[in-house]
Subunit: 106 residues, 2 copies
């Protein structure tokens, strides 16, 4: 993991279905898998882009949530359908996907 | 969690005791708690320093492992005994604890 250039952390925190919402209950496991498969499909990203599950990142009512470092870009409400754009734009071209950035981070 | 200035990710990945080593098997849960308590004891850090559990970060044979962003500082072999120094030096003064940075990151 040394020399990672860009590190995606995907909240996988899960809570029971009837209480406070959680990224885990909103499908973040599938999101995590899709992101990891996205990296896997692009050898030029191997060793440069890391995708790691994380505990609660905070904005539970807006999840699934991702934070990307070192640029400190936050994404909320992300689904597997968003992953191809994240891979092409953010991972491969270095341009965050603006439509997934919550208002409090713009 | 927006506007976090410094984000500590602590590997809490756990594996069975007899296989490949893991940060979880090496006590990272206590490390995570100590770091969170360290932030809790210093109100000036609240909202500025985040401490989040994470999945496998890679250097399993050298754990427990921490990565800190946005500066991308890696720590390995960290124990709760190291936490007061991390809190004072890295969290409060912004100076990473050099002795905990693995050789591959220096």
């Amino acid at each position: 993991m040394p020399k990672v250039e860009r590190h995606f952390f995907v909240c996988t925190n899960a809570r029971p279905a009837e209480g406070k919402p959680s990224c885990g209950a909103r499908g973040s496991a599938a999101l995590l898998t899709a992101l990891q498969e996205g990296v896997g499909a692009h050898p030029e990203l191997w060793g440069k882009v890391a995708v790691t599950p994380a505990g609660c990142l905070g904005p539970c009512f807006e999840g699934p949530t991702i934070v990307v470092y070192p640029e400190a870009v936050w994404y909320t409400g992300v689904t597997p359908a968003d992953v191809p754009e994240i891979v092409e734009s953010h991972m491969r071209a270095g341009v965050p996907v603006a439509r997934l950035v919550p208002v409090w981070e713009e």
